[in-house]
């Protein structure tokens, strides 16, 4: 109902935009040529810029400001929210976990993805397609779906009852006691399992991109290397790999950006309990459950600060600088 009532305004906005383009374009063609060609690009890019400012820059600045205020934005608290981030235990856990996620997910995804791509390359075309499709399949599943699937793998039931979880089913069949995989925080076991799920999903992404990159490596360079050595591994490491370095960095940074913003897997499986909390999950709880704008904003600001270098790196690569 609510969405229907704004329909007229929405149409008006679209119509207005269209009129702005048409009239702006007409005005620029009518204007003296030197002035017209200067203004025309701004006419076209203007609405997009305005949108980006209203929906991204302004809220971004508001978030930054909110991070220096208390939970409902009514009182200035200076840096105290930031100090909490490094002094309160539950926030410290988040920082440690986030570091684990950022390092491990890209590492596993790229290494396994690269290995799959390189090995599949040597298969017959039909097998190669099959193998890559299997690896890519998890990409088609939403994170919540993936998390739910793995919940059935990690599920714990008391030893007296039937095991529903696959892993515990195997353990019990081997005569061992079942393990609460998702609740066992020692050695970061549960966090590592959550990381594994994410890597499982993202490996497909890495495989496809790196496979394309490997196929683009000039065959001549590899054939030339074969004259010098018999070791295919050496050829891969010293000839192919250096030539796809750029793509590896792109894949790794894209995954890092994604991982920093991860929410679904943790929310679905542990809700951030048992020492598995991460930034996006806690931010969500702080803002929506606890009504604490200040701490939520600090977490988001931290997120941006960490993501920013990755974004700059990627934009630069796209530009070819």
């Amino acid at each position: 109902m609510a969405s229907l009532t704004v329909l007229p305004q929405f149409c008006l906005l679209l119509g207005g935009l269209l009129a702005f383009y048409v009239l702006g374009h007409a005005a620029c063609t009518l204007a003296p040529k030197r002035v017209g060609t200067r203004i025309l690009p701004w006419v076209f890019v203007g609405p997009a810029l305005a949108m980006a400012t209203i929906f991204m820059v302004v809220p971004g600045i508001r978030t930054l400001i909110a991070s220096f205020y208390n939970e409902d934005g009514s009182g200035f608290v200076g840096l105290s929210n930031y100090v909490d981030l490094v002094t309160i235990d539950s926030y410290k856990t988040i920082l440690v976990n986030t570091a684990l996620w950022v390092v491990l997910v890209p590492l596993i995804a790229v290494v396994v993805g690269l290995a799959t791509a390189a090995l599949a390359d040597r298969l017959r075309p039909s097998f190669e397609r099959g193998a890559k499709s299997l690896i890519f399949l998890p990409m088609a599943i939403s994170f919540v779906g993936a998390a739910t699937i793995w919940k059935f793998v990690f599920d714990y039931r008391p030893s007296e009852s039937m095991q529903v979880g696959l892993l515990n089913g195997v353990l019990v069949a081997l005569g061992r006691d079942p393990v609460g995989f998702l609740t066992e925080a020692s050695w970061h076991l549960n966090t590592l399992l959550l990381i594994f799920i994410m890597a499982w999903v993202e490996t497909g992404f890495a495989t496809i991109l790196l496979s394309a990159a490997l196929k683009a490596v000039p065959q001549e360079t590899i054939e030339a290397a074969r004259l010098d050595t018999d070791s295919e591994f050496q050829i891969f490491m010293r000839v192919s790999l250096p030539q796809i370095r750029g793509q590896i960095i792109v894949v790794a940074t894209s995954i890092i950006v994604l991982v920093i913003k991860t929410f679904d897997v943790v929310y679905t499986l542990t809700g951030g309990n048992f020492g598995t909390d991460i930034v996006a999950n806690r931010f969500y709880f702080d803002l929506f459950r606890y009504g604490d704008q200040g701490h939520a904003s600090v977490l988001v600001v931290m997120l941006v600060i960490v993501v920013l270098p990755m974004m700059i790196l990627n934009v630069r690569r796209v530009r070819g600088v």
Partner: protein
């Protein structure tokens, strides 16, 4: 990032935009209310075809699934003949949704809250119920203490619909009979019985505190019930108000007594891992397996509702026993939870009428049939309850000197959230009791 930044900005702008709209709706609804009241009451007393009202009522509530179906069915008996369409939206993430919708200015007409703490948090968007019905009449018809639970800053904003009593220990009659166990009436007996069950090579307790992103709340119920048996109502009130710290001898004692059960060797079916990963919806089921996985399951009546199918006539409960050596006044009152209904500040005569209906005894009839709840009305017909368990639990209300709302649900949402998370960490052994209590107290300061 964009999304987050966006929502935080809408939140702030909505707060500033709220007062004028609010003023307009209040005056509108209070002016419109008396005629509507007159129309509905005369209509129902005549028992003829009720007057047509029409319109749609947008209800946001925390009940989902079968519970929600019962509720909507119950409301439709009123709304249908009057041409009112009930648009019910059940949300498992009610806490989040109600905040988002109030902050975004997209108010539902009626809200069904699981916690008075949340009612207080969004109280500026709620209509005083005295504009819709007689507060004095409602108060005298319901069990003592219920009006106070829905009152924020001396304004009555929420009425209870279904109540669930805390502090019941469920068991299987046949299992107790076969094993020859007696119902414990004191805490010491309870521990002795637990030890005996362990020495018989079995597990006395089933505990499950998993509840998705709200994991931990069933554990907080233990603390409330134990506190109600070890401290007078004034201590309980001070705890809810935040004047009694969690890091105090009274609360520590409650945690430690709960710890006796948690840490007792072989006390709990499946041990710690089962406690934190078993959903409260299924935790009690091993009572009825053959052989029983456990013999006792502490729960509120609400969780007990999940046992009615498996347990059928075999399901019974005993009151969580009093604890010897407690100061005077301890163990005389009962803790309850309730579905609290509130009317948001929207202009909608149909919603006014439905809200008035929801504050009557009839509205809850279908909900009571399910066995999750007892009625807040003192003269509710007991034959409408589905089983003896529900009828007996009503007896606890009559015996109680007064009722108190579930403590964590009455605390600010931030504190309640801290309670859920930290008690889970403590139960799972990730956090010491000191760290747990300090973290909860820290949430009060915010």
């Amino acid at each position: 990032l964009v999304l987050s930044a966006c929502s935080s900005s809408t939140a702030t702008s909505a707060y500033t935009a709220a007062p004028p709209t609010t003023a307009a709706t209040t005056s509108g609804s209070s002016a419109a209310a008396p005629p509507t009241t007159a129309a509905t009451t005369s209509g129902s007393s005549a028992a003829a075809t009720p007057a047509y009202i029409g319109g749609t009522v947008d209800i946001l509530g925390h009940p989902t699934g079968a519970e929600a179906d019962d509720l909507v069915a119950s409301l439709n008996t009123f709304a249908g003949p009057r041409g009112i369409t009930i648009k019910y939206e059940g949300s498992p993430d009610f806490e989040t949704d109600v905040r988002t919708r109030t902050a975004g200015g997209n108010l539902p007409d009626i809200g069904i809250f699981p916690q008075p703490g949340l009612v207080a948090a969004v109280s500026s968007y709620l209509t005083p119920l005295s504009t819709l019905t007689s507060q004095a009449q409602w108060t005298s018809a319901t069990w003592p203490g219920l009006t106070e639970m829905g009152t924020v800053n001396n304004v009555w904003l929420a009425g209870a619909m279904g109540m669930s009593i805390r502090g019941l220990v469920y068991y299987s009659k046949s299992a107790f009979q076969q094993a020859g166990y007696a119902i414990p009436t004191t805490w010491d007996d309870l521990i002795k019985l637990s030890d005996k069950i362990v020495s018989d090579g079995k597990h006395p307790w089933c505990i499950g505190i998993e509840s998705g992103s709200a994991t931990g709340w069933p554990a907080t119920n233990w603390i409330k019930t134990i506190l109600s048996r070890t401290a007078p109502v004034s201590t309980y009130d001070a705890w809810v108000a935040g004047t009694l710290k969690n890091d105090s001898p009274e609360i520590r004692n409650a945690f430690n007594l709960f710890g006796t059960i948690l840490n007792g060797k072989d006390y709990v079916y499946g041990g710690r891992a089962a406690i934190v990963s078993t959903s409260y919806t299924t935790a009690g089921l091993p009572l009825f397996t053959q052989p029983p996985g456990c013999y006792m399951y502490y729960a509120s009546q609400y969780e007990g509702g999940y046992l009615t199918t498996a347990g059928a006539n075999d399901l019974a409960f005993f009151r969580f026993p009093n604890i010897a050596g407690a100061p005077a006044g301890a163990g005389t009152y009962e803790i309850i939870g309730a579905d609290l209904v509130s009317r948001f500040k929207t202009t909608n005569p149909a919603a006014d009428a439905v809200m008035q209906y929801m504050l009557t005894e009839d509205a809850g009839t279908s909900m009571m049939k399910a066995g999750y709840y007892v009625s807040p009305f003192k003269d509710f017909d007991p034959s409408l309850y589905p089983n003896d368990v529900t009828r007996q639990s009503e007896g606890l209300l009559a015996a109680a000197s007064t009722l108190r709302y579930d403590a964590t649900d009455a605390m600010p949402p931030a504190v309640e959230g801290a309670y859920w998370t930290n008690i889970t960490s403590w139960v799972n052994g990730d956090e010491s009791l000191d760290a747990c209590l300090t973290a909860i107290d820290a949430a009060w300061k915010k």
